[in-house]
């Protein structure tokens, strides 16, 4: 994970639930490359066609509420979205994102600073999100060490893999 993440911004409203991110009819798809074609079909129809690697999604309150579908952050990761920022997140969506190694950053008041197409600069260690066009920024408390560590190793799969490999190695037996 880079300390400074900069990218083009896609804005979303409040209470965008997982049904609006990946609709129920696509839930039998498990290939993220396939899923990404349908991401935000209801909330932001032009996104799937135009979003590019490195883009940043900025939403209002309660992003990702509704079903516990990992499809949603998995599809965003497949597109190469570099961070998801929101005034607040629904719990499972937040966990899923971090566990997939996709930075999810909760920053009160962030949504109103951005318009579609702006550029955002996020400093993970500095705890700021800045609108490069307007120069305005907001602060967030740094993520807890446990979560930073998860993002650092690239997500939960990597973390458990390291843990299991460590437990298996004869040196520690």
């Amino acid at each position: 994970m880079r300390d400074v993440i900069e990218g083009r911004v896609w804005t979303l409203g409040v209470d965008v639930d997982t049904d609006q991110i990946i609709s129920g009819k696509y839930l039998t798809i498990i290939d993220p490359q396939e899923l990404k074609k349908h991401v935000f079909e209801i909330a932001l129809p032009e996104f799937a066609g135009a979003a590019q690697a490195g883009d940043i999604v900025i939403a209002g309150e309660n992003l990702g509420c509704g079903s516990s579908r990992e499809h949603a952050p998995a599809a965003l990761k497949a597109i190469g979205v570099s961070a998801i920022v929101a005034d607040s997140f629904a719990r499972i969506f937040f966990r899923n994102s971090i566990n997939l190694g996709l930075p999810a950053i909760e920053v009160r008041g962030v949504r109103e600073l951005f318009e579609q197409g702006d550029t955002a600069r996020i400093s993970m260690s500095g705890g700021t999100v800045t609108n490069v066009r307007t120069g305005r920024s907001v602060h967030f408390p740094p993520l807890p060490a446990h979560l930073l560590e998860l993002l650092e190793v690239g997500g939960l799969v990597e973390k458990v893999r390291l843990e299991l490999a460590h437990a298996d190695s004869p040196a520690t037996a």
């Binding site: 516990s68 629904a90 893999r161």
Partner: protein
Amino acid sequence: MTGNGHGATLAEKILARASGLERVVPGQIVDGRVDLAMMHEQGAQTVGPFHEMGAKKVWDPDRVVIAIDHWVPASTEGAAVLHRILRKFAEEQHLPHFYDVGRHGICHQILAEDGWVVQGDLAVGTDSHTNMLGAMGAVAAGIGPTEMAAVLALGRIWLKVPPTVHVHVRGTLGPGVTAKDLVLRVLGEIKTTGATYKAVEFSGPTIERLSMPERFTLCNMTTEMGAKCGMIAPDATTADFLRPIAKHAAHPVRADADAAYERVVEIDVDGMPPMVACPYSPDNVRPLPEVANEHIKVDQVFLGSCTNARIEDLREGAAVLRGHKVAPGVRFIVSPASTKIYQQALDEGLIKEYTEAGAVFTNSSCSACFGGNMGILAPDEVCASSSNRNFPGRMGAKNARIYLLSPAATVASAIVGEVADHRSLN
């Protein structure tokens, strides 16, 4: 019940035990030992990461339940593949508790009726309504498939200890007013974000009198409040329910009398009418008599879902239905929550009653609840439903409108052909 004390809440007590600590506080990140892990079709996404992690064996096959529920029997090739992935995984890992097509049911109902979650457990499932099992006096939370892979590998999970919102309920539910109406009322108060990352604990004289099925309905919809878990302290009702079916030993705990709550919500249900959640949010709650007066025509009615498709709900609906027919032009879908409930409905003659009145009675599954299997709504259609969500696109078309109701009011809507108050039928 001031909530300003220094004692531990029910969630804190359970998480302290699960993580082997004396005391935990909100905000603390703990590593909890899992008592029960549940997967439904989304668990198919768990298998990949489980292998990528280099895991060889599931930590404890006796603590893992897999239930097929969203697409039963498989309605698309994609769903069939998910089922096969799970079947194969269960076989390879020697997982004996696999509720395959034929003994299937909605995962949460399976956990409840077969005693898989008991007092004091830490339970996790790959479904957001796992909260329902908190009615056992447990912490039961929904998690994603990748973290489920870690749970299967290690038997543990990282959790942030949630602060608790205490919902204290007194008064008597009037005739025809149910636990569903109560939870809708609470949702109207707390809203869909009011308990995000938090535990919701219900207590008070009204709660103590609720049966287990009613408690399931209540805890089920704490998910719509954003809650990590919803719970009710275990008591004699819990013990009586679990005694004949419990799959493992319980560790019943209760909150300290001076527990520190983040917020206390007082609800008095005396004189409360039935409630309805209007489109497009479960917290858009209004008194049902008011909405019934607007004569909102319905195209489809759904009596089903993990919230309200237990035998008690089907009986309640049948009592309203007796002597009536489904209104012309209305499609009325009834889907019991489990195979066991299906069989009970058969024995009690309920399937005959529903189908003779013009309903379609399906096998047990999530059915029309999530807009991906059957009973899908066309653009501009309106549905009255006993389920738990009415977000845009939840049951099909983006602009279809869903009204969430109690089972009795759901059935009344099928008879009248409008969002209706069952108390005005005769």
